[in-house]
């Protein structure tokens, strides 16, 4: 790609496009970062995507990027690109709150491993985004920062727990934000905000320096407008930390995140029974149409059957309740009133789960993982809904629609395989709808490539929230 023109709306561009402009010097990183900060500050009173905007530190990083770019020596495609971090990811010298009163004024002394890697790639960290308390207790209105708002509709929420990251990307504040995903916290907000979000294979991105939720299920992943941008980010993010007990120290495949042409024949298993009956009808229709697009691209689509969603959800719930209780029970004992009510309510039952039930859930997880792994020896990828509904209404007194719905993100959380949510249409009410593409463990490259091929053939990922709704 070449470019010699100054872009008129840089924040509407992808990372790929911005990298060309930055290298050609028709846009500087300082200009781009300033635009990003201004939009974050202007929109935040209504959108609430950010907990902290690090203007000073970001502009310093941007100036350093500009020096490297002027010397023709960028560190990567991310050099000079403004990036936001979910506020459970630690950054040296910048408060990291997890949207909890417990950490409201906590300032880490070290960067999380993934932040070290992003900085090494030249990314400009411009802010910390809003989330459910510790990525678990939300949406909730009794936390230090209220829930973010969905840029597509001021009366709807952006999903969670990586709420602010999704809102910031959808509202064109940043081209890239990081989220974390234990049961769907990258993919749910990506699906209902009309952006792309990848939960990489378990262990590919280090969780060192990221506040835990359930460590054996925790993932960190990129959220951007395109699959190609997620690939660029993953390439920079992947790798184990120095003191990371949960990221396997195995070799991450080279070019894990490269975008390739789709293999032929491409065999895709359509897990339709997960969304055919329980999803919003507009979701079912949109995912069925997406399946037809893959067919037109030359894929062989076949319906497949896996365990019901409830099985994955039960398994995940027992594991995550036990692990989150282990991670936070000391706060529950020392300062229960400092936690939001929802967080307390979700942590406390973990103490009632006995070790034998936890071990039983681990065995069940191995069984479910094995079954999915066997299926993925016959199929290259799986396709299903990204979320069974559309965005939830922003109603503090309303019943969460999530409680009544099975969670279609859980199967890939439990099994640890790479899964990506990308936009595939809109509901009749004008809210974004997403699908998920998943593959075998460490097949992140194929998942990203398939998502990219779909985005090459469609334009859902290019749709922008209407200005009014964007606040």
């Amino acid at each position: 790609m070449t470019s010699t023109d100054r872009p008129t709306a840089p924040l509407d561009l992808s990372i790929e496009q911005l990298a060309v402009h930055l290298r050609n010097r028709d846009l500087s990183s300082v200009e781009l970062t300033r635009l990003s900060i201004e939009r974050a500050e202007t929109s935040n009173p209504q959108l609430g995507a950010f907990i902290t905007i690090c203007a000073e530190a970001a502009l310093k990083q941007a100036a350093a990027s500009d020096r490297r770019l002027a010397e023709g020596d960028p560190r990567s495609a991310l050099d000079g690109i403004p990036v936001a971090l979910k506020d459970n990811i630690e950054m040296r010298g910048i408060r990291t709150t997890s949207n909890s009163r417990i950490f409201e004024h906590s300032v880490p002394r070290q960067d999380a491993e993934v932040v070290r890697r992003l900085k090494r790639a030249g990314a400009v960290i411009m802010g910390k985004t809003s989330l459910f308390e510790f990525g678990h207790g939300g949406p909730a209105w009794d936390l230090p920062w209220p829930p973010a708002i969905n840029p597509w509709s001021a009366s709807h929420l952006p999903g969670g727990s990586s709420s602010g990251s999704a809102a910031a990307v959808a509202a064109r504040i940043v081209p890239l934000a990081l989220g974390t995903d234990t049961g769907g916290s990258v993919r749910w907000p990506a699906a209902v905000c009309g952006i792309s979000g990848l939960k990489p294979s378990y262990g590919v991105v280090s969780m060192e320096g990221i506040h835990p939720n359930a460590p054996s299920l925790d993932h960190c992943g990129p959220m951007a407008r395109t699959a190609a941008d997620c690939a660029l980010a993953l390439q920079a993010m992947a790798g184990a930390g120095r003191a990371d007990p949960f990221t396997p120290r195995r070799r991450i495949p080279a070019n894990l995140a490269r975008i390739d042409p789709l293999p032929r024949p491409l065999r895709i298993g359509l897990v339709r029974h997960w969304y055919a009956d329980d999803a919003h009808p507009d979701v079912t229709a949109a995912v069925d149409r997406a399946s037809e697009v893959f067919e037109a691209l030359g894929a062989r689509m076949e319906p497949v059957t896996l365990a019901p969603l409830r099985d994955y959800q039960d398994c995940k719930t027992v594991i995550s309740m036990s692990e989150i209780h282990a991670a936070y029970s000391h706060f529950l004992q020392s300062s229960p009133q400092e936690m939001g009510a929802l967080m307390r309510e979700r942590i406390l039952p973990g103490s009632l789960i006995r070790a034998e039930d936890y071990l039983r859930a681990l065995k069940w997880r191995r069984h479910l993982t094995h079954r999915m792994g066997m299926l993925l020896t016959s199929y290259d990828l799986l396709l299903t809904a990204g979320w069974l509904g559309t965005a939830e209404p922003n109603d503090p007194d309303g019943e969460s629609t999530r409680a009544a719905q099975p969670l279609v993100t859980m199967p890939f959380s439990v099994t640890g395989v790479p899964a990506m949510a990308i936009p595939c249409g809109f509901s009749n009410a004008g809210l974004p709808v997403g699908m998920q593409i998943a593959g075998a463990h460490l097949s992140d490259r194929l998942v990203l490539s398939a998502a990219h091929a779909y985005q090459d053939a469609t334009e859902w990922h290019l749709c922008k929230p209407p200005e009014g709704a964007r606040l």
Partner: protein, 59 residues
């Protein structure tokens, strides 16, 4: 952490942990307790098959 071993009891747990939570919060959590028990029962039923003991020779 101390825990009731056989039949986890919600109020016993609260007392052991010396947790002083608002009454309304306690009631809410208590109402969720049967759902947790049902969840654990489903898990036990599901895993029965994969938990069958390996055959052993008589000693």
């Amino acid at each position: 952490m101390k825990m009731p071993r056989k039949t986890p009891d919600f109020h016993a747990f609260l007392a052991m942990e010396s947790l002083s939570l608002p009454e309304e919060q306690v009631r809410e959590m208590e109402s969720g307790y049967p759902a947790l028990i049902r969840l654990l029962e489903r898990l036990r039923a599901k895993t029965e098959d994969i938990e069958k003991p390996r055959p052993r020779e008589a000693s």
